[in-house]
């Protein structure tokens, strides 16, 4: 019974990891950019939510209304002003520029908010739980987070395959120069992809901040969780990303149960095992 509970908790956390991963996978898919600042942007969103919540005195979940559009705007401008200039055949510029951004965001947050760890208070909902059966209960908040994650991923899937902007994303992903030939403005498409990525980052950041303590230094670990989920899931579909997140969450939950020091290590080891045995991920892209 205990193990079932642990695995269930792991699955629910996995939803959050899948959301870290979705934004990363999205921009990699569209423009082959790996954003090393991704984790720090999640933390930035958490701090934005903190400021909004404290200034307006509203529930953290309501702060999404402000934080999501704000992060999307930051993403659009960031892509247009800086990141578009780094794209090309050379791998170095995008990696080093986003690495620089990561250091800037992290130390900027440290200057503004100190290294103290913070948390958003969501009120009574934090301690509510849903009874699933004999001695098996899940917190309402983790459950909401998981449902939101599934909804975000389903939404992305619909957006990719059912809408005009999704078609533009897939076109630039397949062949940038042909996409331009048929009249797409790549700079704009890339900026929209980054805006969408950071909108997801905003949701993930706020949910993270409600769930656990955060401080300016935790960004890189979130990047790594998202990355591991992407690679484990395979680069095929967003649903693979969800599976990757869940595997990571469950591995960490089991590791933590064996020894508190093993929580993170177990997640990394699961990733390395998948990389060793199935480097293309568990749900690779179907060719054709």
């Amino acid at each position: 019974m205990n193990w079932l509970n642990i695995i269930l908790q792991g699955i629910l956390v996995g939803g959050l990891y899948a959301m870290f991963a979705a934004g990363l996978a999205l921009i990699f898919g569209v423009m082959r950019l790996v954003n090393i600042a991704h984790g720090d942007l999640i933390v930035l969103a958490a701090y934005l939510a903190l400021v909004v919540t404290e200034t307006l005195g509203i529930n953290p979940l309501a702060s999404l209304v402000v934080v999501v559009p704000l992060m999307a705007l930051i993403g659009y401008v960031l892509q247009r002003m800086i990141l578009n200039r780094t794209l090309g055949d050379d791998l170095l510029p995008p990696l080093l520029v986003t690495f620089g951004l990561s250091v800037i965001i992290q130390n900027g947050l440290l200057e503004l908010f100190t290294a103290d760890s913070r948390k958003l208070q969501a009120g009574a909902i934090e301690v509510d739980s849903v009874q699933l059966g004999q001695g098996l209960a899940v917190g309402t908040l983790p459950l909401i987070q998981f449902v939101v994650a599934v909804a975000v991923i389903a939404g992305l899937q619909v957006l990719f395959y059912r809408t005009a902007i999704g078609r533009a994303f897939r076109a630039t992903s397949d062949d940038q120069s042909v996409a331009q030939l048929v009249g797409l403005d790549n700079r704009h498409v890339f900026a929209l992809a980054m805006a969408l990525s950071l909108a997801i980052v905003a949701i993930a950041g706020v949910l993270l901040a409600v769930r656990a303590n955060f401080d300016p230094s935790i960004g890189p670990a979130r990047l790594i969780f998202g990355f591991e989920a992407v690679i484990m899931g395979g680069l095929g579909s967003m649903w693979g990303t969800l599976a990757g997140g869940i595997i990571l969450g469950v591995a960490q939950a089991i590791g933590a149960q064996l020894d508190p020091g093993w929580q993170l290590l177990a997640g990394h080891l699961a990733f390395l095992v998948v990389l060793a045995l199935r480097p293309e991920g568990l749900f690779p892209k179907v060719q054709g």
Binding site: T86, L91, L96, F99, V103, I104, E111, L223, L264, L275
Partner: protein, 343 residues
């Protein structure tokens, strides 16, 4: 037709460069005569960063393996030094190269795993490896676990009996190590591997089609870099006398600074890390009080350079004046023909 030519590496500027280096080396070797303890510590730290940045430059600038996880090998070298001396009673000075060799052996299977990650994802893969090493190090309770451990006095005095002799010795070791690293990189770049590496740097596809075994070359560079980085890490922590997972595997100290140094100085050029380190320390001596603002400024400068002058400060100078500080150019000198230069 017989091959009536030979390849010259030196140019006028590289002869001047090597001359300046020789003089500088003598002055630096004599630093215990003219400098105080602070000077020696600072200089040893500078040597450490020149070595680390040169190694990262070899990896990222030449082999195209952009690692953001070289702290894995700095930390591994540091922990191996402490493990070898404290648990196996190896003499510290012997433990330094042993740490390098052991790290190189570890690097082979690690490369087998992370080379499966293409391009950009390789970078984050290296970070995962560094995290795994850090977490494993904090599980070793014999070396202090998460809070770290100091080197026992008996081992410290086995380096040299007096504090002053110890400081001189570690200083000279740091100087010798940076000269060794730079010398080894120059030799490597002048060898067949160097030609292959330069080809990979300029165009990986073209290098492959000319018969360069790209994967093998990259593996060799990765392992060599691991050896060098761990050796430098071991020496740095012999000077610090204390190790902990957070300091040994610090991404800021051993990767962010190193990347900024190389990018600002000039990536893909051997002179870049040297110039970058000098600029880095000049800035740090004047702006150190700013703390995290200083790091932000470095980040901004590095981004600006990456966007506006991707070859860094040395790249600008070399492009403008055709300078090279080390004899690395390849120029065929053919009897009876005007010289043709090719870098």
């Amino acid at each position: 037709m017989s091959a009536a030519f030979h390849v010259e590496h030196a140019t006028r500027s590289s002869r001047i460069g090597v001359g300046i280096f020789a003089v500088l080396l003598i002055v630096l070797a004599a630093a215990p005569l003219w400098g105080d303890r602070q000077d020696l510590r600072l200089l040893a730290e500078i040597f450490g960063y020149v070595a680390l940045a040169s190694l990262w430059n070899l990896l990222a600038g030449y082999a195209g393996l952009v690692s953001v996880g070289q702290q894995a090998y700095v930390g591994l070298g540091a922990y191996l030094l402490f493990a070898l001396t404290m648990l196996l009673d190896v003499h510290p000075l012997l433990a330094i190269p042993m740490a390098g060799v052991a790290a190189a052996i570890v690097a082979v299977p690690v490369a087998g795993l992370i080379f499966r990650l293409r391009g950009h994802y390789f970078a984050i893969g290296t970070w995962v490896v560094a995290e795994v090493f850090r977490l494993l190090a904090s599980q070793v309770s014999a070396l202090g676990g998460g809070s770290g451990i100091s080197l026992p006095i008996a081992i410290v005095t086995s380096v040299a009996p007096t504090r002053q002799m110890r400081e001189f010795l570690i200083y000279w070791l740091a100087l010798a190590l940076v000269v060794f690293v730079l010398g080894a990189i120059v030799m490597l770049l002048r060898s067949r591997y160097g030609l292959a590496l330069t080809a990979i740097r300029d165009n990986e596809l073209a290098a492959r089609s000319n018969g360069v075994d790209v994967t093998r070359t990259k593996l060799v560079v990765y392992v060599i870099t691991a050896f060098g980085t761990a050796t430098v890490g071991a020496l740095i922590f012999l000077q610090k006398l204390r190790v902990s997972p957070d300091t040994a595997f610090s991404v800021n100290d051993w990767t962010a600074f190193v990347i900024f140094i190389t990018v600002i100085g000039g990536i893909g050029r051997i002179e870049g890390p040297v110039i970058g380190t000098i600029i880095f320390f000049l800035l740090r001596q004047t702006l150190a009080d700013l703390g995290s603002l200083y790091l932000m400024m470095l980040g901004v400068v590095a981004i600006a350079i990456m966007l506006k002058a991707p070859n860094g400060i040395w790249g600008l100078l070399a492009g403008r004046f055709g300078w090279q500080m080390f004899p690395l150019a390849r120029r065929a000198v053919i009897a009876g023909l005007p010289q043709q230069a090719k870098t």
